[in-house]
Amino acid sequence: MNPSGIQLFLKQNFDIQTVMPLIVVAATALLVLLLEATIRGKSRTFLTAVSLVGLGVALLLTLFNFPGAKQSSFYGMVRTDAFAQFFTVIALAAGSLTLLLSANYLPKIKSDTGEFHALVLLAVCGMILMAIGNDLIVLFLGIETMSIAMYILCGIRVDAEKSNESSLKYLLLGAFASAFLLFGIALIYGATGTTNIEALINSGGVLYGISGIKEYQWDTGAYQFAETAAQYFFILGVAFVFLGFAFKIGAVPFHMWTPDVYQGAPTSVTGFMAVGVKAAAFAALIRVFLGIVDFGDLYSSNAIAYQPLMDLKDVLLGVIWLVAVLTMTLGNLSALIQTNLKRMLAFSSIAHAGYALVGVSVALRLSGDDRDAAVGAVMFYLLAYMFMNLGAFGVVIMMNRGNDEGEHLHDYNGLASYRPLVAAAMAVFMFSLAGIPPTAGFVGKFYIFSAAVSAGTVEGYGLYFYSLAIIGVLNSIISVYYYLYPLRNMYFVSAEREHKVELRPLMSASILISTIFVLWIGVMPKGFLSRALEGAKALFFG
């Protein structure tokens, strides 16, 4: 029996399966709030458990029951391909690890409230939305859901001045960036008549249709008014949208908020922000911007001399190239002189966004399997980065003794002698962040830089991409200095006094999981990489 028309319609446009992980996480968030309101005076470990179960169920759904490839639903608003799956997993894993880390940390900073769990879950919702969103409006919705949760999370330590400052700064600057993003979306809608990314990319004709002009002469006058305006809005829109995403990524020069916000926020939130928010923003950035490249290609395949949009690809490439170089360099140079480990990691996270941007910039120029490899490298890197960075923040949390104590580099002196396992885990994370084998960070950097080198072989782009790879490697070398500094303190400097470092089970579990994954990905990257490549392949419309 054939499904009736209405069934088919519902199946195509209201397939609940596509948003199931999202629903599960959102429901868990509400449940946690309810429980917080009804159960009083009890340990919040229970709430952590509930949240983790919710995230776990969502993770299982994502891993094993994700709708088929390239399936879009809700009138094309969401698209559940392997790319979305990959980033959903990152978001869920980042949320889970953060909750594990926070379980023992929140009481220490006197912020042990149920809202914390709910907010983390809601932020994860936003990230999932950004991963599966196939429409600029949905992406904006995702970003705002995530950001508003993060604004509150940053200020969750109501009694700490720095936390409040962090929250306020993030809110003000975030609002500023969001405004640009929304304005950019509006401009693109104005130019093309759609906000749907798929339609946008397939809409070579739409943009072209606005003008209704078949033979175009660039140097003639007002005759081309409509078309020129559309193009004008479109390109402006692209620039504004880029600003919006770059802000979330923390790319230079839209990064200024990161050190202040990261340092002021509770450390587990900082870790969450550094990996989760970044990964989600990258997901949106890649989906939108690499799509626009296809958009330009469509014009060339239509053999219409529509030069500006063809050039858009090169211009974007140039912009992202420069941003990547600045981001890597500034991030590393600033991290170099920090004496507070948390602040150092904040700056280093800027640098890591720069490395990932190298991959994005490379993907803009490549095509076919090479482009998949470049995008796959970025995705792989973000996955690896999640584990190593959350692990490092986990150790920082473990060393923390309320307030800012225990964050300074000299607090790590001689750690190896009285907490050898913690020191060893930290060593693994630092080696990985610095990109030293056999850790995940090395493999990630290797894939990204080798993508850059392979892009360098494209005729005429050698200077662009070889230099990018070289600058990237030089930056890695700089970063070795500050990543190995804590190791030096841990292993070669004797402790003036031993700090009390508690090995609480949940926190240790989080660090252990991170360590295992950092080494696992570093030693056997193949499985992870092939999932990333699958995602990259699914991203592009055939």
């Binding site: 960036a177 006058g221 402006l236 912009v319 600033s334």
Partner: protein, 778 residues
């Protein structure tokens, strides 16, 4: 006959087990047991009981031995005695022509080596349980020892030069670790300086001297690849040779042939097209470079200086690494590459010449040493010289034969010295011994057996192997130069006298006569434990019977039986002498086509040999020339009499000087005035001082004052430090941007946006908005 008996035993055991022969895939287990052992002792050894570590470490090597034995027996019963080979995976691959397999090769040659290595190692492991019983780093010792066996087996069983090289470097590392095992040692306080303790310095010296040799080895490998790879050389001859080799190896594609694999390289050289010459110059160069490596590892002139110092390590290490196994790796390597050496007579001359010089030279130094282990060390250097004489004159199988018997008796001697040293509270000076036979009867008996075996007295293993080598040397005539063979023979003979003399000397001074320290004190010393005695007895037994697996040809009635061992090894090695012997005995019927290439078979050889008094010549019909007037057996018999004679003379002289009770001479104490000759050999001809003065000190000074304090500090460090300073300055400057003020941050964001838009304009994808100016619409 032993061979038949072994075959019978193998068949019987196989039938009993009811299973087929082992497969080549199982070869890896020979290597895995020591590797697993090493890993466990390295990680957990500290927490385990001493006895557990020692027993299980011995067991691991024992299992390796049993597996080797199993493969050996399987080879015996296998049709055609075929070798076991197995390629596990491609280890290194780069491009079309460079592919190195991780493969093992258990053939006739490596079977012998594997059995000797695992067998002797097992015995020495058992001995070490007793010897190291008081050491606090017991587990570390067994960890290193197991690791050593692993690398040694990799060296022996690897089926290509690179795997051999990995094993080669690995045993070098273990040697270094074990020589310096007591790196915080108290025994040599005088030698301790700013470079480290005496033991650590000795380890370093061994390592560095070996690097010189390894450099030669690597060059040899490079030359082999460059000469015999189609990647670098696509001459017509080589392509033909590859085609022939492909046929011989039953591979379909020449791309599957890799010249660094022993069997492939051998096939290439053997398939060299008729009528074109092998590149003899290059082969000679390769042979010499490989020998430089061998000379480093096997302590030959001029690279022998590390071995006597290596005695700083624990005595079982001296026995295992610095006598029985690792130092013989060079001999094994030359035998493995025999197909290259037979084509390069000049390289053979170098090998034989250096071997003979070393055999004699080291024996003279051995005459005047007073440290029991130093005597044995120089004796080892000297005996290795004999092995190189053998492989140098083309008697590869005899070299391996001597390698095996030497492993037995020298390990026995070292372990005996270990028992003495252990008993004497780590005193090593033989002037302080004397009369120990009463206190260490078993050690004494085993020592005497081994000492007479090395001296070459008849019916002990050393006699059979050394005698055969001298005989082959006598027949050696590279480029038709018989005098060279005679010279080598003469030096070998002289060395043999000295060997018999110094072994008698050290035996007499240690075990015979009256004790030179008070007897009541000696009586309180603790006797060695049972494990040590058991090891000594096993090795002494082997030192007796080890020779009988290859009795001289002239012993057997038909002049061809009895050479089981040599016939076995010759499945791989291309023994020149043996081939000729072969067709003398069969009237030249079984002529190998390669004999046509042999220099010895050349036309010019005949004339030079006419006046030879030992043997009246009758030219062979193939043009090959042997001492045939007198029957071959007769010549061999005379030579044997000669070498027995010199051994007896040496022993007798030693007995006369040191062995006579009461009046036996004792070497002069330190500080006493020596005759110039005595002083010269006691001070080892001042070679160490010579090297120190001419090489080590200048290099050290150059490194310190020019490279380090000059170039490193002023150029490299200054550059790097300057760069770091500069980077930090930039970092500090960048930090100032981070003001913490929101308006500033916003300004930066807007500036970024504006910059981006300016870029868009500059690039031309945005133009000045003319449509605003020109007024909206049509």
């Amino acid at each position: 006959m032993p061979l038949e008996l072994l075959q019978l035993a193998a068949t019987a055991s196989q039938t009993a087990a009811g299973s087929g022969l082992p497969t080549g895939r199982m070869l890896i287990w020979i290597l895995l047991f020591p590797l697993i052992g090493m890993t466990i002792w390295g990680i957990l050894g500290k927490r385990l009981r001493r006895e557990t570590v020692g027993t299980l470490a011995s067991l691991a090597i024992g299992l390796s031995f049993i597996f080797s034995l199993g493969f050996f027996l399987a080879m015996l019963v296998r049709e055609g005695h075929g070798a076991y080979t197995y390629t596990y995976y491609t280890w290194i691959a780069a491009g079309k022509w460079f592919s190195i397999p991780f493969g093992l090769r258990f053939d006739h040659l490596s079977a012998v080596m594997a059995l000797v290595v695992t067998g002797v190692s097992t015995v020495i492991h058992i001995y070490s349980i007793g010897y190291m019983r008081h050491d606090h780093a017991y587990w570390r010792f067994f960890c290193y020892l197991n690791l050593f066996v692993f690398f040694m087996l990799m060296l022996v069983l690897g089926d290509n030069l690179l795997m051999m090289f990995v094993g080669w470097e690995g045993v070098g590392l273990c040697s270094y670790l074990l020589i310096g095992f007591w790196y915080d040692d108290r025994n040599h306080p005088a030698e301790t300086n700013e470079q480290g303790t005496g033991n650590a310095i000795a380890g370093k010296k061994a390592f560095i001297v070996n690097r010189i040799g390894d450099f030669g080895f690597v060059l040899g490998i490079f030359f082999i690849f460059v000469t015999f790879s189609l990647m670098t050389n696509d001459s017509a001859e080589l392509q033909k040779a590859y085609a022939g080799a492909a046929k011989q190896l039953h591979v379909t594609d020449v791309e599957q042939i890799t010249p660094l694999k022993f069997s492939h390289l051998k096939a290439i050289i053997e398939s060299w097209p008729e009528g074109s010459h092998l590149p003899v110059m290059v082969l000679t160069l390769i042979g010499i470079f490989l020998f430089v490596g061998a000379a480093g590892k096997s302590a030959q002139i001029p690279l022998y200086v590390w071995l006597p110092d290596a005695m700083a390590g624990p005595t079982p290490v001296s026995a295992l690494i610095h006598a029985a196994t690792m130092v013989t790796a060079g001999v094994y390597m030359v035998a493995r590459m025999s197909f290259i050496y037979v084509e390069a007579p000049t390289a053979m001359m170098v090998v034989a010449g250096i071997g003979a010089l070393t055999a004699l030279f080291a024996a003279t130094i051995g005459l005047a040493q007073n440290d029991i282990k130093k005597v044995l060390a120089y004796s080892t250097v000297s005996q290795l010289g004999y092995m190189f004489i053998a492989v140098g004159v083309g008697a590869y199988a005899f070299g391996i034969f001597h390698l095996m018997t030497h492993a037995f008796f020298k390990a026995c001697l070292f372990l005996g010295s270990g028992a003495v040293i252990d008993f004497m509270h780590h005193k090593q000076d033989i002037r302080g011994y004397g009369g120990l036979r009463k206190y260490l009867p078993i050690t004494h008996i085993t020592w005497v057996i081994a000492a007479y075996a090395i001296a070459g007295l008849p019916f002990l293993s050393g006699f059979y192997s050394k005698d055969a080598i001298l005989e082959k040397a006598f027949e050696f005539a590279p480029h038709g130069m018989h005098w060279f063979g005679y010279a080598v023979f003469g030096m070998g003979l002289a060395g043999a006298i000295l060997t018999a003399f110094y072994m008698t000397r050290v035996t007499a001074l240690t075990f015979w006569g009256t004790p030179r320290i008070p007897e009541e004190k000696l009586a309180t010393f603790k006797k060695p434990p049972g494990t040590m005695k058991a090891a000594l007895v096993i090795l002494a037994f082997l030192a007796i019977i080890g020779g009988y697996i290859n009795i001289p040809a002239w012993w057997s009635s038909d002049h061809k039986g009895g050479q089981y061992f040599v016939t076995w090894v010759q499945h791989w090695t291309k023994d020149k002498v043996a081939e000729e012997r072969h067709f003398v005995q069969h009237g030249g019927a079984a002529h190998d086509e390669k004999a046509g290439h042999d220099e010895k078979a050349g036309d010019d050889g005949k004339a030079q040999n006419d006046g030879d008094k030992e043997a009246a010549e009758k030219p062979h019909k193939e043009g090959s020339e042997v001492h045939e007037g007198m029957s071959l057996g007769m010549l061999a018999f005379l030579l044997t009499l000669l070498s027995v004679g010199v051994a007896v003379i040496g022993v007798a002289a030693g007995m006369a000087k040191y062995g006579v009770k009461k009046t036996g001479a004792v070497p002069p104490a330190e500080g006493e005035k020596l005759t110039p000759l005595h002083a010269m050999i006691k001070n080892k001809y001042w070679i160490d001082e010579l090297y120190e003065g001419t090489l080590v000190d200048p290099i050290h000074a150059g490194s310190k004052y020019v490279l380090w304090q000059g170039i490193d500090v002023f150029i490299i460090d200054a550059f790097v430090d300057g760069l770091a300073w500069f980077t930090l300055r930039i970092g500090a400057w960048v930090r100032r941007l981070q003001t913490g003020l929101i308006p500033v941050y916003v300004i930066f964001m807007v500036a970024g946006l504006v910059a981006m838009l300016i870029y868009f304009f500059a690039y031309g994808i945005l133009e000045m908005p003319t449509f605003f100016i020109k007024g909206g619409g049509k």
